[in-house]
């Protein structure tokens, strides 16, 4: 499928950038004219992945988070990467309510929310190297509506 547009964003793993990341991806996605609900889903999924990089990937250090996104006809692809701690057991991490940091008020629902709000979710992670989350979402086809 043809790529209609493409962007890359890089920022520091500080918590005030969580809302910044949401705004950036949402305003990029807006070029595909999504519904308000589709936009809210994307914002939530981005927020989960970026927060994970800040809290779990870099823990108490400050590192770089990279987001890249591609727009296709009625579809967005979003990749969120950190170069932090990595995930040793991805299977376990994906389980609802499982968290490695209950003491920090984590609910363990991040991956479950990403999965259910987006149409696909791939996790690649190497302990000590970092984590990359690749998500896609298909938008309702407006051209077929009357």
């Amino acid at each position: 499928m043809d790529i209609l547009n493409e962007m890359k964003l890089e920022f520091l793993s500080v918590s005030q950038n969580e809302s910044f990341a949401r705004v950036v991806v949402a305003s990029f996605a807006a070029q595909l004219d999504p519904t308000l609900e589709e936009l809210a889903d994307i914002k939530t999924a981005v927020s989960e992945a970026v927060t994970n990089s800040i809290i779990h990937g870099y823990e108490d250090t400050i590192g770089t988070i990279r987001i890249s996104s591609k727009l296709y006809k009625n579809k967005i692809e979003i990749t969120i990467e950190d170069y932090g701690k990595g995930i040793a057991d991805i299977e376990k991490a994906r389980q609802p309510l499982w968290t490695s940091k209950p003491e920090l008020d984590r609910s363990g629902m991040g991956f479950t929310i990403m999965e259910s709000f987006m149409d696909s979710l791939e996790i690649s992670s190497f302990p000590g190297k970092g984590t990359a989350i690749r998500m896609t979402k298909n938008f309702e086809d407006k051209s077929s509506k009357r």
């Binding site: 918590s15 927020s47 363990g108 629902m109």
Partner: protein, 111 residues
């Protein structure tokens, strides 16, 4: 996000405003814990009327308060949750352990 606290009927009413993400959840938690220490209340009601965004960090923050208050036989309630945020509450099973209200005065009376 702005947070306002109010005490009514021995309940701390937390008026949340804006986007409840991890950044804001941390601020709310800090302020709320300081307030709890001073006021010695056992019930918290989170008013979501003006919350425009929430992710799982919001769930974690509320669950965290629930666990703390459980130790002293307290209670946590939530009111005015709108559709998108409701889905997140549902997915995480919070509806099963926390009291949900649709009306604020009813919440203040019954919590």
């Amino acid at each position: 996000m702005k947070v306002n606290f109010k005490i009514q009927n021995n309940i701390i009413i937390v008026d949340l405003n804006g986007e409840l993400d991890h950044h804001m959840a941390q601020l709310v938690k800090q302020q709320l814990n300081a307030f709890l220490l001073k006021k010695q209340a056992k019930k918290i009601l989170f008013d979501f009327k003006n919350v425009t965004f929430m992710d799982s960090s919001g769930i974690g923050m509320i669950l965290g308060r629930y666990k703390e208050l459980q130790k002293i036989n307290g209670k946590v309630g939530v009111v005015n949750v709108t559709s998108n945020i409701k889905r997140i509450f549902e997915m995480s099973g919070l509806f099963n352990i926390i009291e949900f209200f649709t009306d604020k005065s009813e919440a203040i009376e019954k919590l």
